[in-house]
Amino acid sequence: MALDTSEVENIAHLARLGIDPADIVEYARNLSDILAFVEQLNAVDTTGVEPLAHPLEATQRLRADEVTETVEREDFQQCAPQTEAGLYLVPKVIE
């Protein structure tokens, strides 16, 4: 599957990933190469094979629904780019 530049732009948009327009052609080439490489999987007959999501086939462990952590908002917000009154600030979303 070869990707053209508009498809790369669309994927970058879906991933919210800013790409320098000058680099799009190279990304299109690299990503197409990688997709062509992984497409050798198509030649494998996997009829009736269950997908393997967890190497030990373990299922998610559950725990009791209890309060075990304390809120450490100040500590956690020290690494935030911009906060005010305990809130994370982002550009205005609603006018």
């Binding site: 994927i11 800013g18 690299n30 494998v44 094979v49 462990r61 780019p81 994370y88 550009p91």
Partner: protein
Amino acid sequence: MHTKNLTELAKGLREREFSSVEFTQACLERVGRLDEQLNCFITVTAEQALRQAHAADARIQSGEAGPLTGIPFAHKDIFCTQGVKTSCGSKMLDNFISPYDATVTQYLNEAGAVMIGKTNMDEFAMGSSNETSFYGPVKNPWDPQRVPGGSSGGSAAAVAARLVPASTGTDTGGSIRQPAALCGITGLKPTYGRVSRYGMIAFASSLDQGGPLTRSAEDAAIMLGAMAGFDARDSTSVDRPVEDYMVGLNDSLEGLKIGLPKEFFGAGLAGGVADAVTAALGEYEKLGATLVDISLPNTSLAVPTYYVVAPAECSSNLSRMDGVRFGYRASDPQDLEDLYTRSRGEGFGPEVKRRIMIGTYALSAGYYDAYYHKAQQVRRLIREDFLKAFETIDVIMGPTAPTAAFRLGEKSDAPITMYLSDIYTIAVNLAGLPGLSIPAGLTDGLPLGLQVIGNYFEEARLLNIAHRFQQVTDWHELAPQGFE
């Protein structure tokens, strides 16, 4: 001091031959003098290290020391360390001071180990050469024109150059074993779930596993004993007691059946590597093992399967890096979308972007079945190959990497060529098995590794097998010139 192994160091500390503070200062001095040419460290934590060393000395005096108390180590910059920058090799987290400790960090703290600093790595552990790091490549101490391997390149080079006796790493597709091989040291990737992933910045959650890098298998056994263990905070941590990895190190290898997959010895394997692996297998025969030819027929599918599964999981994991709650934020965002797009565009390097885009594509509507579902099906076939092999043999052996260390820049423009340097290690992650790499010789003056793959939770057996080899060979004692 820097040439001693962990057992000798612990004895020296216990018998007051030297103190932890003295040893820590010696390591810091060596890092200060030698690391400029290698670039192993992103952050050196000298003050904190000396505080930890003082505390360790007090603990040793009171007779409460464990095997790692007072021992300096280097920590891969993927493990969160409270109050210390945790960059993951990325501009995105260049300003990230972690507010909490990873479980592995906590366990090593509790053991009394002394963290000297955080080591350089491929950005978000995505790379096999350490060249994708925001902080520049690490140089291989055996030849500064060559890569140390990746992604745990700084951790491997720091141990190889005798800057520290031990370090931590993580392995998603070979990131402990391949740099261990290329730097001439010992590296162990445990069974998936053996070492907690809590606070270990996620790349591909169904593949990532932390483990030790050391000079010898005996040292790896000591490190793994401290790093492993059940952790309720990691939903995939396995609730199973940690073995004493030291107790069986000297067990006999008489009757050990070693499987040699024909697929690991085919085209693409460098002649010098093949010769050294063959010689190493000869040593095992002398130790009483028998060699059995086996086949892992789906081996060639491991790398393509990985390059669907790993990017898919990474595109999901890395969506948390959005410039809102932590990490890099682009200046003057016009709106929320601009904030996300530019923070991520400016914060991530090209290899990370490629993998996020591959993963986004593979998971997107209309393509999910063709890529992700298919890859997970093939993943099962790859795992079944191993399970079938382990019905008749005890362990699998082969080369860790197809070549010795390659030159800086040699593969950095060709992603797929780079991906193929993990051809023998990647299937082990897909199956979730434990594997280790030990030094097995030199080719043109460069080290190379023998990989040993075991069945689930057979870390103790792997360490025993590696230790017995290291008792009859001295490849693991070789130091690169200038770092003896």
